[in-house]
């Protein structure tokens, strides 16, 4: 059976060049970068080299990069660390309603610690309304965080414009660029942000590695307490192989950015066009044009996402869904909800996230596989039956 991985939003495979770059640091070069001997020197040089490459990808200075263990940790460090460092100036924070849980729940923790939080809404396409941001920034707003793009629906935000609002009001601006770094151009100077999160497993690098960029001069309180690693801003023995892997992945992403985007957009458009034309009662979620090149996300009416995923999986196809049944907590994705998608429609959420290794054949295979799956589930669906009968309760 053909195997088609279309779940790159969950995690990307590691490129062979990246794995090759990592391996020596699992074998002979196993030293601790803090050690005063040859093994330590090799490890230290390797992570500093990687720091340079990561900085290069986002137009930053190497010393502004703090390596962390994940996008989640980068966001925890950013939200909690920036807010704690600014709290003498005020205790109000603004984030969008569709932030990743690592931003949202960090902000909720700050609420418990006495901060105030405002969530700004998004429109039906997932775009943050700039006026809403402007309206909600107050005298005591110290931090604004809006993600660069949302991995679930693919919508890319106009970060530069939103950042300007924050800065005019004297607030720090952070963006979660986990879903964009390495996928579309991300340049901290062009985005005019103060801090930016990224993660290895979203750009064909390893899991277990992330980074937070913090502009020189912006204060941040460390999150992980302990030793002096990362300039005293993030303690713990450096994960040398993973850092090296992130560095290599960043280098490759920079080199291949253009061709990757072209490849992915072409596949994405084929997938979106094909799916919409071959299946009825399917809507594209997210913004029609301002979207991640690899993101094809839909709501398929009258059927439920988990069941769809299971049938896709039985055909060798990996995808994901924001339906309630696919979440541990049995709640529909807060992203879809914030976009105003009615809950019963959100249950049909289906996300195909394309990656470098995907081909037109992969897309065509999925396009072939989908109609019988949709059909089978709709034949079982009381909602579809009602819809056909034109009954109330259908749609």
């Amino acid at each position: 059976m053909r195997k088609v991985y279309l779940d790159h939003a969950a995690t990307t495979p590691i490129l062979p060049e990246v794995l090759e770059a990592i391996l020596p640091y699992f074998k002979d070069a196993y030293g601790n970068p803090q050690s005063l001997h040859g093994w330590g020197d090799d490890a230290r040089e390797a992570i500093e080299d990687a720091r340079g490459r990561v900085a290069d990808l986002i137009g930053a200075q190497p010393e502004e990069i703090i390596f962390t263990s994940s996008g989640t940790e980068s966001n925890n460090l950013a939200i909690k660390g920036l807010a704690m460092a600014q709290q003498s100036k005020g205790k109000h924070i603004v984030i969008s309603a569709i932030e990743h849980f690592s931003v949202l729940h960090s902000a909720r923790t700050l609420e418990k610690w006495g901060f105030e939080l405002t969530l700004v809404p998004v429109d039906r396409c997932g775009l943050v309304d700039r006026e809403d941001v402007a309206k909600n920034i107050r005298e005591d707003t110290i931090l604004v965080s809006v993600m660069h793009a949302n991995g679930e629906v693919g919508t890319i935000q106009p970060i530069r414009e939103i950042a300007r609002l924050a800065k005019e009001a004297g607030a720090i601006f952070h963006t979660d660029a986990v879903a964009t770094t390495g996928t579309i151009p991300v340049n901290v100077k062009e985005l005019t942000v103060d801090a930016l999160s990224l993660a290895g497993n979203q750009l064909y690098g390893p899991k277990g590695i992330g980074a937070l960029w913090v502009k020189k001069g912006v204060r941040i309180i460390p999150f992980l307490d302990g030793g002096v690693q990362e300039g005293g801003r993030r303690a713990g023995t450096e994960n040398v192989p993973a850092i090296v892997g992130l560095g290599k992945a960043a280098e490759l992403a920079k080199e291949e950015m253009e061709s990757r985007m072209e490849h992915l957009s072409a596949l994405r458009n084929r997938l979106i066009g094909g799916l919409l034309s071959r299946n009825e009662h399917v809507t594209l979620t997210g913004h029609p044009t301002q979207r991640l090149p690899g993101n094809a996300s839909f709501c398929i009416e009258f059927i439920e996402g988990e069941a769809t995923l299971m049938l896709l999986s039985s055909k060798g196809v990996a995808a994901s869904s924001g339906s309630a049944c696919t979440s541990r907590a049995l709640k529909a994705s807060h992203v879809l909800t914030a976009m105003g998608i009615p809950p019963e429609i959100a249950q049909g959420s289906l996300l195909f996230s394309l990656g470098l290794e995907n081909t037109e054949e992969d897309v065509d295979y999925v396009l072939e596989a989908m109609p019988p799956i949709v059909d089978k589930l709709r034949q079982m669906s009381p909602l579809y039956a009602k819809f056909l009968k034109g009954e109330r309760g259908g749609r």
């Binding site: 009258f302 059927i303 439920e304 988990e306 069941a307 299971m310 999986s313 039985s314 339906s323 309630a324 049944c325 696919t326 541990r328 907590a329 049995l330 529909a332 009615p342 809950p343 019963e344 249950q347 034949q379 079982m380 669906s381 009381p382 909602l383 579809y384 039956a385």
Partner: protein
């Protein structure tokens, strides 16, 4: 998959008794698409026995497998026995369900029960059937 048993997978992939019954003796609808799962059970009752059971389900893999196994367990049973199909029995028959899917086994049993209730509360039905049997016996 969320660690579904082989039995769940089998019933999900090949659900038994999918469909509607024309002129059913009872219909039971539970759940709500807003919450993620909705099941409709249709029953045909003959001589106090479930002579046919069919269902339509909108929901996750577990919901579909639960519907299928409940329809199978209920088929041919007397109403009294069908009522004894508890969520625990359903989960057991499916060789286990993940914790966050227990509610699906509740829904299955509920839908069946509701269909039986529906049948029983139809004017005359209950009495008629009991009477008829008595009549026949006499």
């Amino acid at each position: 998959m969320p660690v579904y048993s082989d039995k769940v997978m089998e019933h999900f992939m090949n659900p038994r008794n999918v469909g509607e019954i024309e002129n059913p003796d009872g219909i039971g609808e539970v759940g709500n698409p807003v919450c993620g799962d909705m099941m409709t059970f249709y029953i045909k009752v003959d001589d106090n026995q479930l002579s046919d059971v069919k269902f339509k389900t909108f929901g996750c893999g577990a919901a579909i497998a639960v519907s299928s196994i409940v329809s199978e367990m209920a088929m041919g049973k007397t109403l009294e026995k069908a009522r004894k199909i508890t969520p625990a029995l359903v989960a057991q028959e499916l060789e286990g369900l993940p914790k966050n899917k227990y509610h699906c086994s509740n829904l299955g049993a509920q839908a069946l029960n509701k269909a039986i209730d529906d049948y029983l509360k139809k004017p005359g039905k209950k009495v008629k059937s009991k009477k008829r049997r008595k009549d026949e016996k006499e």
